[in-house]
Symmetry: C2
Subunit: 189 residues, 2 copies
């Protein structure tokens, strides 16, 4: 089981499918979903993907073992996110197969991902991933195009088991997820 | 200098920005451009990206050192590809800053990428990239969601210096490019 939590800081709940970057950079989240779940002509069946949107206290969960109707492109993925957000409530709702949505605090979503495995906080200044032991139940936390606030980071560090990096350059969140998967694939985890 | 050639087998020249997968899987090419060029809040300035579309004998070249108006999302990238294809001629045309388009044969595009560096043919059954020497002028050839035809593969192997893989799983073309960059970044190439 591999889990990812990506925080979409700019998203306020509205999605214009013809302007995903202008919709609170929901294109970033769509690409992170692509990177988390897709293989060539197949999907990874052992992934939990969480997106958290602090501006609207929304948590989306994708359970890849149950997902249907998910395609690799940004627009169709954003349409599934839009559908989930429209249905959001205090109780968890299944908005489409494998997609779940709920109103939650940031602490609650961190506690949720903590229950899924060892937490690795992805950070440019973290320890090189290639040099450290990784669990077969790993949960990775990363930000979108905006850095975590000091309050968010404090909470992440309270729960994180390690702070790791994937390489020497500062890269996009979706690319980071791809490299994490590759390292875990190589180790057979 | 790092170069990538991705062959888009299904693309016939028409792009509907509201249906990129239905436009000959141009979403795949857009994501490969994203993976080739973008860093976090920056772009890589040492990349030549080539896309070749055999059904219309079209070759697009992106010179990242000259590119402007390129954003990470699929739709705006597809709009730049559409603009290039509309302007295609036998002579090379600069369709927008850093974007160049030309009618060419597959052999011509292979010869073009050969002039840019050592050619590494990315293939699931290739030798593990982590175990081999890589040049600081490397050119990588990979396919979209469709395998190369026997004729295409024969021509690639005629020019390729090595056949390499990035890991044990069969993954998307854009994800492969991300992992290639990470390995080169780590080696300081």
């Amino acid at each position: 089981m591999r889990s990812f939590l990506v925080v979409g800081h700019k998203f306020r709940g509205d999605i214009n499918l013809n302007d995903l970057p202008g919709s609170g950079r929901i294109d970033v989240i769509a690409r992170c979903i692509n990177a988390s779940i897709f293989l060539s002509h197949d999907i990874r069946r052992d992934v939990i993907f969480l997106a958290y949107f602090p501006q609207i206290s929304a948590r989306i969960k994708i359970d890849s073992s149950r997902v249907k109707y998910l395609n690799p492109d940004e627009r169709s993925t954003a349409a599934l996110i839009r559908n989930a957000i429209i249905k959001m409530d205090d109780e968890e709702i299944c908005s489409s197969p494998g997609f779940y949505v709920k109103r939650e605090s940031f602490r609650e979503v961190i506690e949720e991902i903590k229950s899924l495995g060892r937490i690795y906080y992805l950070h440019e200044k973290g320890e090189d991933m290639r040099g450290i032991a990784l669990s077969d139940k790993s949960a990775f936390i990363l930000s979108d195009s905006v850095n975590f606030s000091p309050e968010e980071e404090k909470m992440i560090l309270e729960f994180a088991d390690a702070r790791i990096s994937v390489g020497p350059r500062s890269i996009l969140a979706s690319h980071t997820i791809t490299i994490v998967h590759n390292e875990l694939d190589r180790r057979g985890l």
